[in-house]
Amino acid sequence: MSAEQHGLRTSELSVRYGGLVANDRVELRVEPGEIVGLIGPNGAGKTTFVDAVTGFTTAEGEVFLGGQRIDGLPPHQRRRRGLSRTWQAGELFGNLTVAQNIEVAVAHGGFGAIVRDLFGRRRASLGETVTAALRTVGLDGIEDTVTRDLSLGQQKLVGVARALAGNGQVVLLDEPAAGLDSQESLEFAERVRGIARGGPGVLLIDHDMSLVLGVCDRIYVMEFGKVIFTGTPAQARTDSRVIAAYLGVPMESAHA
């Protein structure tokens, strides 16, 4: 099988809000086991891209997962096919325990589930799935804690575990390290490497440059909705376009 058949690929993905082009023909790919970074200044369209890929905003263009077109599917269908995401604000289900937060991502419920709930025996395999997902992100023994009582760092990790549970092929992590202190951020980088070693491809969006540059295999840089750079972290560090996007062009050369 060619590499085309695996992972996530977008082709000419564009998002418009009224007259504003939030994403402009974005081409991006994430292979299994690969950690890809997507960075850019605030307002560049990174979260819009995640929303577009996962079906939370209307977009033009094509999205492929494992070689199959998935644009046009509603978000929950994309997740069931193995494309999952986290949210900037974590968005755990505060009412539920850690284990339930992950269980709900594996057993979604539906008409059939009513009969199982009423008359069936409780599935024991769910417990193993939960433990496995938590172990991937290095959390153990907090299954029965209500997520609201967790620290912010732990909440973010549970969010990642929730995205990984079940059949995650590609996970999009939207600012998973925002709000973490430097030490937590460091530990988090280790976890992301562990995830990719387990098979799924990871798209990492974050403002913590040292995290992204330190952990990713490849980097995409976005500005004003367009991908302006693709390459390795080492190349990104010295690329003048990347530095300009973050720190701005010096006044003198901007005037020129």
């Binding site: 939370f56 929950h76 997740r79 999952s84 949210w87 289900f93 339930q100 709900v104 419920g109």
Partner: protein, 662 residues
């Protein structure tokens, strides 16, 4: 053709009332983000004050009264009436609405519904339950329009209300406070950072809303008379107009109000024609607003503006239940003991409490777990009861099968009502469900073609040849029936616990917490809503069947919109997120055991609605977890004390974020 024009003009009178109420709704919504279900009731208070002043010169206050020597002249009386409503609006702003400005939508809906119930109860106590005649501010007369002689009164009323609506429009457009109100309705934080106090702007809006609404009802009530129900519920078509006007446009409010009023009037003319099908004569004028709301929502649902507010409080937590045999058996044994020790009225009260518990449980499912506001639960119950009378008398369907079948019918209806919930949520869903409930009440339950005034008889239930009916001879409340109700309730509760603690419960809670996040973990949110509404309507249907059996026939009074709102009130009071809350709701609910005791021992039946309304307002503001939640908190605290370990820290308010109401 002449008759049509005459009826259109007559309908404009109703349209003028809608203008008043809806203009008030727009003002309050833009200033506070709250949809004021009590708008009609608040305006009605002023109209009653006016009417009573003109009848015997007495100024009736909520407590006490002032008797004037002579009847005040009509304009003075009207002025006093409007003033009383305005005072009421100010009190309501500070005591009721301001405290819940940053609360979850559910608390806001509940609080305004509670205010509506309270005012209605207060009107019954202070002015009596019967319809009274109201003096007309506008003299009767006729004028010739397009060669047709039509009533001039409605035309003058319409002109007055259009003028008032124009004043409100000018306030919002040209005054600094008005512009700031619009600004704050779009971006409250921004307005605060500009130096405006949204609370004060909201107070001004409340005063204006009360005044305009009251003038509308003052004028309208001279045509129709006043009774405690009619103007309270007139808020429902006004809410429909509010949605049509996209919660903001005064111009559309005026136009849509007049069109709706005229249309309803013409429909009432049409249904009297011989060619109009007889079965569809009743309630068509109520079905129209509902249909209008549905069409508008399906066409524009996503684009209805919602008001950005600073939300700081979250919905009460759910504690996922488990089946614990010992407490469960104790509870059932206690219920059996109480039933055995009581008889007649009291046993009936206890039995009814068990049934009410099921209705409350249906609110727990749809609101507590799924997070959707439904005001149509008693319509589901009524639909099941209605079906029950048909299948038991026409088809001789036997007892256990019959209630299963009828509850499935209710579930189907629930799934249909879930469809608007695909596109809207929060208070707007509350509007749709209350409009649906009113339409069903008027079109089905009060339809003599479908529900004869003599009632719909329901055959007594029997099981394996054993009569489990409610009455036999002089025994008005048989133990066999009460035990049957208890068994049905236990089975329903067991099923509820299984579902709530299983995949289904988790799915509901995930949807309640965050629909987008739920979709992102693979949950089909639409299916979840259909299932939630279906299950909840099924449980309500069970209760409806039991209510039917308990009366031996189906009567529309058991399933009115008001009964539904009252049960919502006690469900919220007990605790909308737990089975324990439903039990408490059953005990304190209308016609339940506490009600019976109040009625029989203290002769305070009239005060029941007032007390429950006030208690609900207080609960929604002070203690959103309800009685059950508070009790659980106390127990947890006590346990912590006993174990000599620190109790749970008090909950931290959520991150203060700009969040959409929708």
């Amino acid at each position: 053709m002449d008759t049509y024009l005459q009826f259109i003009v007559l309908g404009l009178g109703l349209g003028a009332v809608y203008i008043g109420l809806t203009t008030g709704l727009v003002l309050v919504y833009r200033a506070t983000g709250i949809i004021n279900f009590a708008q009609g009731a608040m305006a009605m208070w002023g109209a009653y004050v006016f009417a009573q002043l003109r009848i015997d010169g007495t100024l009736v206050l909520p407590i006490g009264r002032i008797t004037f020597g002579a009847k005040p002249v009509i304009l003075v009386a009207a002025l006093i009436g409007v003033l009383m409503s305005v005072l009421l609006g100010i009190v309501a702003h500070y005591l009721v609405f301001r405290p819940v400005r940053h609360a979850p939508v559910l608390a806001q809906v509940v609080v305004s519904v509670a205010l509506m119930l309270t005012l209605q109860a207060l009107v019954v106590i202070r002015f009596g339950p019967n319809s009274i005649v109201v003096d007309s501010l506008v003299p009767a007369g006729t004028v010739t329009l397009f060669g047709v002689e039509v009533s001039s009164r409605e035309l003058i009323m319409t002109a007055v209300m259009i003028a008032l609506a124009a004043l409100v429009w000018a306030y919002l457009r040209f005054t600094r406070a008005g512009v700031a109100t619009r600004a704050a309705s779009e971006n409250e934080r921004g307005a605060m950072l500009m130096g405006f106090a949204p609370d004060r702007l909201a107070g001004v809006a409340m005063v204006l809303a009360s005044a305009v609404g009251t003038v509308g009802v003052l004028l309208g009530s001279s045509l129709t008379g006043l009774n405690p129900a009619n103007y309270t519920l007139l808020v429902v078509p006004a809410l429909a107009v509010l949605l049509v006007a996209r919660m903001e446009s005064i111009g559309v409010v005026v136009a849509a109000s007049l069109v709706l009023g005229a249309f309803q009037s013409v429909v009432n003319l049409l249904v009297s024609k011989p060619w109009w099908p007889q079965w569809a004569q009743s309630g068509v004028d109520q079905v129209i607003p509902f249909v209008v709301v549905m069409v508008i929502l399906f066409l524009f649902g996503r684009r209805l503006p919602s008001r950005g507010t600073l939300q700081t409080v979250r919905l009460p937590d759910v504690h996922v239940p488990r089946i614990r045999p010992v407490p469960a058996l104790v509870l059932v044994a206690a219920a059996v003991a109480v039933l055995a020790l009581t008889q007649d009225t009291y046993r009936f009260g206890v039995t009814y409490s068990i049934i009410l518990m099921l209705v409350a449980l249906s609110y727990v499912i749809v609101t507590g777990y799924l997070g959707q506001i439904s005001l149509a639960q008693t319509s589901f119950a009524g639909a099941a009861g209605f079906t029950l009378s048909k299948v038991t008398t026409n088809w001789d369907m036997p007892f256990p099968l019959a209630i299963l079948f009828c509850s499935l019918v209710a579930a189907l209806l629930g799934m249909i009502v879930a469809l608007p919930a695909f596109r809207i949520r929060g208070a707007q869903l509350a509007i749709v469900t209350i409009a649906a409930a009113l339409a069903i009440e008027r079109f089905v339950f009060n339809n003599y073609a479908l529900t004869p005034p003599s009632g719909n008889p329901i055959a007594n239930p029997s099981l394996f040849g054993l009569n489990v009916g409610v009455r036999e001879g002089s025994d008005l409340s048989r133990m066999a029936f009460s035990l049957t109700v208890l068994v049905v309730a236990v089975l329903v509760v067991l099923a509820f616990v299984r579902l709530a603690s299983g995949t289904t419960g988790r799915m509901f809670l995930a949807v309640r917490a965050n629909e987008r996040a739920a979709a992102s973990v693979g949950i089909d949110v639409r299916t979840a809503k259909v299932i939630g509404f279906g299950l909840s309507a099924f449980v309500a249907g069970m209760a409806g069947c039991l209510i039917g059996y308990s009366a031996g026939q189906l009567s529309a009074e058991s399933f009115t919109v008001f009964v539904g709102l009252q049960i919502l009130a006690v469900a919220y009071l007990g605790g909308i997120t737990s089975f324990g809350g439903a039990v408490i709701a059953g005990i304190i609910g209308p016609l339940g055991i506490i009600y019976v005791v109040l009625h029989e021992v203290f002769d305070m039946g009239d005060y029941y609605a007032l007390i429950s309304g006030i208690a609900l307002i207080a609960t929604a503001i002070l203690n959103p977890v309800g009685i059950a939640g508070e009790t659980r908190r106390q127990i947890a605290w006590l346990r912590g004390k006993l174990r000599a370990r620190p109790a749970d820290p008090p909950p931290v308010p959520d991150r203060k974020v700009l969040s959409d109401v929708s």
